[in-house]
């Protein structure tokens, strides 16, 4: 058992729902009790979709457990087929139904429906949402793709690709697809299909018609794309186009696969505003800000590169809840010389951030809670999604406009450069107390001054078992602006421990400051 306050991923059957809902002409019959119908609101409320997900739940009850749950399931499949007339069906079980072992696949097969029925085995006590989505998409492609359909010879036609990965309830997938489609259009590349989002089973049949696959979200599309590479000889992209540099690299990779060249305008630094905005003197203050990055594997890897190469931050913490992408995250962490955090335990993430005392967190909605509690700024860069992640406006994180969006997103939580200076200069000013927040944020003060949170706390404050601060040193520390005080406290304590100092004085504080200068 794992104690969970927040969970980063839904159970795997929700991943399957995301694929079913993204597609057209698919219906999913899920063997599940009534409570599991909550998942509909993810789509209709959080993502404001206009139609219910194409999912039928058997909603068996305790009294059904005697023995007729299998009949109930078969009846539900028949009824759903009648009512919705899908081109293909998915069948499976949620966590509770998995325990009663009714074999949805076998039961559905027994009905001999005249459409393909894809049985899904998604072990609910082992796997999670993204795996569920990836497995579902893979099973659909494997079952439906027509192996006889291959692209015609390249001469005399435009190169053609599939865009794989975009899905319902995905973090900014809606706008990422628009942005990438636009860029591919400017490259003269045709789109054979986008899947799962918007694709029908019929579309999937002719997936082989493309020259190569663009994999936008490896968590969802990688299994299917690897299978297509193996079985259809379709090569795939490996760069995820998040950030200015990654977008440039992605376009080069695409050009290689498409045997074409990237137009000059898309190779220019003016292709997004990120290069200029980040170079501009107003952004100098961003240099060396200590950031902690946590989220899904794809977005964390991208954010790490952006933070370092495009914002000029210092990445002081990195981690992911995507165990599937632990390997590249470990590699990135090794290059940074830090320990990665591969965990889906919210409490562990909270402890790591508190220990790290970053100036900015790039994370998920969950890290937003943590950062709020610690009085640190946070920008959301990854699922799990929230209603705020489906804005009305165009908000991709991919492509060049995505780089623009990310620049604004990452800068927003920070105190602006000249404000920093004034805050540092006149700490005694009675208006410059710790409740003074970035002036561009409305009516706020940092959580540091809120009543002590009643959360499951991550235990001892940082100096409980470390060196003690004498009075003058504590006072001197308070003269440091709140947005760097955590770092100063941490550095001083580290310095004290290293030098076996048990009582921190004003001198220790300045010795540590000099020691860690820069």
């Amino acid at each position: 058992m794992q104690l969970t306050v927040w969970t980063y991923e839904a159970p795997p059957h929700v991943g399957a729902m995301r694929v079913a809902t993204a597609m057209k002409g698919v219906h999913y019959v899920l063997h599940a009790p009534q409570g599991d119908t909550y998942a509909d609101l993810l789509f209709t409320m959080i993502a404001r979709q206009k139609t219910r997900p194409p999912v039928t739940y058997t909603t068996f009850q305790a009294r059904d457990l005697g023995g007729d749950t299998a009949d109930l399931f078969q009846q539900a499949v028949s009824d759903a087929y009648e009512r919705f007339a899908p081109e293909a069906m998915l069948v499976g079980a949620s966590c509770t139904a998995e325990l009663i072992q009714d074999d949805p696949g076998g039961l559905a097969e027994g009905l001999a429906l005249p459409v393909p029925v894809v049985p899904l085995e998604l072990p609910a006590y082992q796997k999670k949402e993204n795996w569920g989505a990836g497995e579902t998409f893979y099973q659909i492609v494997r079952r439906l793709a027509d192996r006889d359909i291959r692209p015609s010879p390249r001469e005399g036609r435009a190169p053609r690709c599939n865009i794989l990965g975009p899905c319902a309830m995905g973090f900014r997938h809606r706008d990422d697809v628009t942005e990438i489609t636009r860029l591919l259009g400017l490259m003269g590349i045709e789109i054979n299909l986008v899947a799962p989002e918007g694709a029908s089973p019929r579309d999937i049949v002719s997936i082989g018609n493309a020259d190569f696959n663009v994999v936008l979200y490896p968590e969802i599309a990688q299994s299917a794309a690897k299978w297509l590479e193996r079985e259809f000889n379709q090569p795939m992209t490996t760069t995820v186009p998040i950030g200015h540099g990654a977008t440039t690299d992605f376009l080069e990779e695409v050009a290689g696969l498409a045997k074409t060249v990237v137009p000059l305008s898309l190779r220019s630094e003016a292709a997004s505003r990120m290069p200029w905005y980040s170079t501009s003197v107003d952004s100098h203050y961003l240099t060396g800000k200590r950031v902690f990055i946590f989220g899904d594997g794809t977005h964390v890897l991208a954010a790490e590169r952006i933070a370092r190469e495009e914002m000029g931050f210092d990445v002081v913490g990195i981690g992911t809840y995507s165990r599937e992408l632990a390997k590249p995250i470990r590699k990135a962490a090794a290059a940074l010389g830090i320990e990665p955090l591969i965990s889906d335990d919210y409490l562990e993430v909270e402890a790591a951030i508190q220990e790290c005392q970053p100036e900015l967190v790039l994370g998920t909605q969950m890290e937003r809670h943590i950062a709020k509690r610690l009085g640190i700024g946070c920008a959301v860069i990854s699922a799990p999604v929230h209603v705020q992640d489906f804005p009305a406006r165009y908000s991709p994180v991919m492509g060049f406009e995505g780089a623009n969006v990310l620049f604004d997103t990452l800068v927003h939580p920070l105190v602006m450069g000249l404000e920093e200076h004034l805050l540092g200069m006149f700490r005694e000013d009675f208006e410059f107390n710790d409740t003074a927040q970035p002036s561009h944020l409305a009516a706020h003060s940092p959580a540091a001054h809120m009543p002590e949170p009643s959360a499951i706390s991550v235990g001892a404050p940082s100096n409980d078992d470390g060196p003690a601060w004498d009075n003058d040193a504590e006072k001197e520390l308070k003269k440091i602006p709140f947005f760097v005080r955590g770092k100063a406290r941490r550095n001083t304590e580290m310095f004290a421990v290293e030098h076996a100092i048990t009582t921190i004085t004003v001198e220790t504080l300045y010795d540590a400051k000099a020691h860690y200068s820069r």
């Binding site: 969970t7 009534q34 959080i46």
Partner: protein
């Protein structure tokens, strides 16, 4: 304001035939309702020093954060102990695992005075004995933390039945009143703090001082119970709790739910009657609030009068709400669904409810067919269903809002009416909505 008045309702009563054995359409099919776990969303706010630990799957944890996540400011006072492979395969002893999780939780969070172990579908199916675990843990953490258990599983409970199960679990802990204790009034069912305060003031003005509310705001402030306890329901969905309270000697005061002016008036009178209060004094006490609420409600009535309303089954509040709409707002009811109908607890409500199609249980697809066919002016439904109806041009209201909003009592009758009027008013305000649904994603 000492003028005595008769108890007759003074709004715009709609006189219709009523009967408590009226026919009900019973349906069985796909249900589209939350399970009882969802009750934690408001219970963990109401009982401030309690923590709710669900023993369940990742689905349970995800349900809680999805249903409640958008509403949570600070850290929630609930969590999930997620059962994993090792627990199922017997590689880990479930009780040891649970002990470990509880220890981690309580050592980090020392403000918890009461811990509920909440059963779920998976824990029920694998027959995890949470009541024994609760007993064991309660012994271990006594006297700091009391540990109780109940089931919020979706194979046994529907939405608000989670509160019923939770309160039922609390009843054995209520201290026994002395045999010669004076009569006390126990108001049962979660109310907003501000509404409790109002009722307490009204009762005090009517000379009734022995009033307790259940659940209490703090876990250790449990009211006494005994043969002289008069139970009156503030919420309709408390079947098991009433049973448990009766088994402790309390007696139920028959009354409608205090929604709307009529409901509140009758409810207060029933309570006062049961407590032997002076009805003239009561009338004097409540007349000002009732009078102003009439003005407030009357101002909104024109927006709802004659409108056709459909209730999908969700919170069991459907019948009292429908009764209010029909009798005080002149609404035409198309269908009133309820997930479960307790004819005894609903007797006073059913007596007031106009003739209307009642339905119990659900086959969501067929019910939506009926909604589509009826094309109501307003549909009250669950969160998952609302936007698809809105997209088809049919205004909706989330049923969950009636659980989360202070709507009981005279001074909230206007707010209650406004809640129903708001979706209709919004359509009137907006320059949009003339078009059929067009996919915009």
């Amino acid at each position: 304001m000492t003028q005595a008045r008769s108890a007759s309702f003074v709004g715009n009563p709609v006189v219709v035939p009523t009967a408590s054995d009226r026919p009900v359409l019973k349906e069985r099919g796909q249900r589209e309702v939350f399970c009882g776990l969802t009750g934690i969303v408001w219970l963990h706010r109401k009982i401030q020093d309690a923590f709710f630990l669900i023993i369940g799957s990742r689905t349970c944890a995800h349900l809680m954060q999805s249903a409640a996540g958008v509403m949570i400011f600070a850290e929630p006072r609930f969590g999930t102990a997620i059962i994993d492979e090792r627990d199922l395969a017997g590689l880990a002893d479930a009780n040891e695992e649970l002990d470990r999780v509880v220890e981690r939780l309580l050592s980090r969070r020392r403000d918890i005075k009461m811990l509920f172990l909440v059963g779920s579908c998976p824990s029920e199916v694998i027959k995890l004995d949470l009541s024994r675990a609760a007993e064991r843990l309660s012994r271990e953490y006594a006297p700091d933390v009391r540990v109780l258990n109940y089931s919020g599983s979706g194979i046994e409970t529907t939405f608000t039945e989670g509160e019923d199960a939770c309160l039922e679990a609390l009843v054995p802990d209520l201290p026994a009143a002395a045999d010669d204790a004076p009569a006390n009034l126990l108001v049962v069912g979660t109310l907003a703090d501000i509404v409790e305060d109002q009722f307490r003031r009204l009762f005090a003005a009517a000379g009734i001082d022995q009033v307790d509310f259940f659940p209490p705001r703090r876990a250790r402030e449990l009211p006494e119970i005994g043969n002289h306890t008069r139970v009156i329901l503030a919420q309709p969905f408390l079947t098991a709790t009433v049973r448990a309270l009766e088994s402790r000697g309390a007696s139920l005061v028959p009354a409608p739910i205090p929604l709307g002016i009529e409901g509140t008036d009758a409810w207060l009178r029933a309570a006062a009657g049961a407590m032997g209060a002076d009805l003239n004094q009561l009338e004097a006490a409540i007349a000002p609030a009732r009078k102003r609420s009439e003005a407030a409600v009357a101002r909104i009535r024109p927006e709802l009068e004659g409108k056709r309303v459909f209730f999908m089954p969700d919170s069991q509040l459907e019948i009292p709400l429908a009764r209010f709409l029909a009798r005080e707002m002149g609404v035409h009811l198309i269908e009133v669904g309820t997930p479960y109908l307790n004819r005894r607890l609903m007797a006073e409500e059913l007596a007031l409810l106009p003739d209307v199609q009642l339905s119990e249980g659900q086959d969501v697809e067929r019910q939506l067919d009926r909604v589509e066919a009826a094309n109501p002016d307003l549909t009250i439904c669950g969160m998952g269903l609302a936007n698809p109806l809105e997209a088809r041009g049919m205004p909706t209201k989330w049923s969950i809002e009636f659980v989360f909003t202070p709507i009981q009592g005279f001074d909230q009758a206007g707010d209650l009416a406004a809640l129903f009027a708001r979706p209709l008013g919004r359509r009137g305000r907006l320059a949009f909505g003339g078009e059929e649904a067009v996919a915009c994603n």
